[in-house]
Amino acid sequence: MPHDKSAVLPIAYVLLRILIIFNWLYGAAILGLLAFTFVNEPWFMRAIDVPPGTDAQPIMIGLRVIALLGILAVPLNHLILTRLLRMAETVGRGDPFVAANAYRLNAIAWALMALQLLSIVIGAIGKSIASKEFPLHLDAGFSVSGWLAVILTFVLARVFAEGTLMREDLEGTI
């Protein structure tokens, strides 16, 4: 569909490049925040509204670990976005059914799985430090749709690999 090719691909290129930059900015922001918790801990406690009389140390440690795990997500996001960008480029060149794309999709699937695991750990830490006095609602934890996306990507990577082999066979057929 020439219309789709002309409209969707340039948007995807731009969007993916913007997301790559945003991902690093997000990482830098979390790193800055994490550093600031060490520089000015009392200010940070007031900022996140830790009620007086609550043992702040476990909350502080939990939030720092969550921030650290958030930073770990940055290279994983980068891997996903850059692989996706390379795949979009092969679509633009009119030759997406190559073995490299199957490997890229497989790498994306592993990264998505790692992100889901991170999300579960973050969700568990969030629950463990949350209390009536300090309610903490994080958008993290086990996600059915997230794990479905992981399975779907692994399957698609396999489909891509098989499709590439079939195309190679077809290309050598006279």
């Binding site: 190679e168 066979d169 290309e171 050598g172 057929t173 006279i174």
Partner: protein, 72 residues
């Protein structure tokens, strides 16, 4: 490769060039050249049929099994 393509010998016997054969069976010279040099991974029945018809030969005249290591 265990399957050897004897197109060169057949062309020589029929006093025919690869270009003439390509025109007669409506296959590009590049593809026929791939077949002749044994670089093809597979041959369609329709191609085999067209070559046999033009060259007046049997598939066995074109292909030969030579025991040896496989390309895969």
């Amino acid at each position: 490769m265990p399957i050897s393509v004897k197109l060169d010998d057949l062309l020589h016997q029929r006093r025919m060039t690869l270009t003439e054969l390509a025109e007669k069976i409506d296959i590009t010279l590049a593809n026929l050249s791939i077949l002749k040099t044994g670089k093809a991974r597979a041959i369609r029945f329709s191609t085999l049929e067209a070559i046999c018809e033009v060259m007046n030969c049997q598939p066995g005249d074109l292909l030969e099994f030579v025991p040896g290591p496989s390309a895969d």
